[in-house]
């Protein structure tokens, strides 16, 4: 590993002051996917050292959570990784449900699987479009955003919101999906495989794209584990681990799917792994639609789950519960839990500490991009400056989840 200490790059190294140059990339650089600042020491075009500066998007969400009721934290989680909102909702809700020891009905769990996979597709489509655009293949961006628009319309149909969905709630999902929702999902996943082939047709056989990615940003499995790389980049380095299969949650153990693993560990492998993941997501959604159980979409816990609008307006009990939940929240038994889910970028983890009151004592979010950024120098060292752009695209970072 190069510079494992991760020391800041302030000026060229001793003895190379005449030859090396320190340049600043970002925080307003289009290829940094947000507000990431990289300080890079270069020898001509070759990267010698690289130091990421983060924090430009820090909004103190963890502190804000401590002042909210448990159910009020759900909308905050959307805004952390805004490209994969439902995975954030899912991870937080599962953590609180673990604290409450709340059983979630089968149908709600399967709806969660459908939407979490759509959310992963959403995240991967944006990654593919922007990654290809950074490299200069502008066309793919237009196509992936066309399909992403379909996913956003599906989100709008269930949640009323295109991006900040907050559809999963503690105890289930906020309401029954509209009647034609599953048919719309079915027709969407019917067309998606050929669209993915279309992207692959534009990129996989494209010699320019291939030359820009193959052998670039290589990281070994041992280095990747030491530096905290997780999710698709870790699987592209040959580590066969996926939380959905290995530590299943939300009834993922009932689905059959492959976990794509490659051993090269370069940008090209990361590209292929994500492309295969999209195909696997479609299979999961298909199984969920075929076997969708009947039943309620919310847990039977009137003191925790908001009642239906209809019941609230006709039944005294429901009205009282509604009033209590909105004004006082609900107490959660004291304890601490860590819940992980596999989001589009890799394993997301929520650490929730309760002191027995209606507000979380501490909420900490573990997001994969934060740790993966530590490996950026190892991936880029000794390569051309232009390769930094390709590597950032291939590790698929979102600054919202790094800075929180």
């Amino acid at each position: 590993m190069s510079n494992p200490a991760g020391m800041p790059v302030l000026e060229p190294a001793e003895g190379a002051k005449d030859q090396h140059m320190v340049i600043n990339m970002g925080p307003q650089h289009p290829a940094t996917h947000g507000v990431l600042r990289l300080v890079v020491e270069i020898d001509g075009e070759i990267v010698v050292r690289l130091y990421p500066e983060i924090g430009y998007l820090h909004t103190g969400i963890e502190k804000t959570c401590e002042a909210k009721f448990y159910q009020q934290v759900v909308p905050l989680t959307d805004r952390i990784n805004y490209l994969d909102p439902l995975s954030n909702n899912l991870c937080y809700c599962l953590a609180v449900e673990k604290l409450l020891a709340l059983e979630i009905p089968g149908k709600a769990q399967w709806i969660r699987v459908v939407l979490a996979e759509l959310s992963r597709l959403n995240s991967h489509l944006i990654w593919l479009g922007t990654h290809a655009m950074d490299i200069g293949a502008l066309t793919v961006f237009l196509y992936t955003f066309r399909e992403r628009e379909d996913i956003l319309r599906l989100f709008e149909a269930v949640a009323g919101q295109r991006m900040m969905t907050s559809y999963f709630r503690i105890g289930g999902v906020s309401m029954e999906p509209p009647l034609d929702f599953f048919d719309r999902v079915q027709s969407f996943i019917g067309i998606l495989p050929e669209k993915i082939d279309e992207y692959a047709n534009l990129l996989t056989g494209n010699p320019i794209f291939k030359n820009r990615l193959q052998g670039v940003g290589t990281i070994s499995a041992a280095d990747a584990i030491a530096l905290g790389v997780s999710g698709p980049p870790l699987r592209a380095s040959g580590v066969d681990f996926d939380l959905r299969r290995d530590i299943p949650y939300s009834s993922y153990e009932k689905f059959q799917f492959k976990v794509p693993v490659l051993t090269e560990g370069d940008c090209w492998a990361r590209y292929l792994v994500r492309l295969d993941e999209m195909r696997e997501s479609i299979k999961i959604i298909q199984q969920a639609l075929d076997g969708m159980p009947e039943g309620p979409v919310k847990a039977d816990a009137p003191k925790i789950v908001l009642p239906d609008r209809e019941k609230m307006k006709t039944q005294m009990e429901a009205l009282i519960h509604h009033f209590k939940i909105v004004t006082e929240g609900f107490a959660v038994p004291a304890g601490e839990v860590y819940q992980g889910v596999e989001s589009g970028h890799g394993p997301t983890g929520y650490y929730v500490v309760s002191d027995g009151t209606a507000k979380p004592y501490r909420v900490h979010m573990r997001y994969p991009s934060f740790a993966t950024l530590q490996a950026l120098e190892t991936m880029c060292k000794g390569r051309m400056l232009a390769d930094v752009v390709a590597v950032i695209g291939s590790i698929d970072i979102v600054l919202g989840e790094i800075d929180r």
Binding site: G6, E62, R404
Partner: protein, 164 residues
């Protein structure tokens, strides 16, 4: 196994075959000050001065991936700070939590970046937001807040309104 086991003796008796428990016992049983099995999660409380070698011990015991580390401020209770290290095993397909308790005055603990370089950013984050120092950390600077910021925002006694 959904029952709760509270206390070192109960966990040692109830989960003698757990790989993390075995790794810690083979390393130094005295450094394990408390333990808990709750909601399917194992929490091992380690004496603060031993955390670096405890991390190396569980790493050798198969818990190969450093996943997360953060702190909890129990102000005004004592000991005030709790550090929670979440370690994942790709082989056992399980998380464990190592827990360290620190007193309020000049909280400081050994850095585990020599065991897992991935802890680098996490320790900087805890230093930045809680003001806990990590001895032996290669680059203990603020990471999320500006370099000239005064105070540590995630401490419970940090004012959340009014002028700074």
């Amino acid at each position: 196994m959904n029952n709760t086991l509270t206390g070192k003796a109960a966990v040692l008796e109830g989960l003698p075959e757990h790989p993390a428990v075995k790794a810690i016992l083979a390393w130094n049983p005295q450094a394990l000050t408390d333990a808990k099995w709750d909601r399917g999660e194992l929490t091992l409380t380690i004496a603060a001065e031993e955390i670096r070698s405890a991390a190396a011990a569980v790493q050798a015991g198969g818990y190969n991936f450093f996943e997360d580390m953060t702190a909890v401020d129990w102000f005004p209770a004592a000991p005030r700070f709790q550090l929670s290290y979440h370690i994942l095993s790709h082989g056992f397909k399980e998380h464990i939590r190592l827990r360290v308790l620190l007193d309020e005055a000049e909280p400081s603990v050994d850095s585990i970046t020599t065991v897992w370089p991935a802890a680098n950013y996490y320790e900087r984050e805890v230093f930045d937001l809680f003001g806990i120092r990590f001895e032996g950390h290669p680059n203990l600077r603020r990471i999320l807040m500006p370099d000239d910021w005064v105070g540590h925002p995630l401490r419970k006694d940090y004012p959340v309104e009014g002028y700074r």
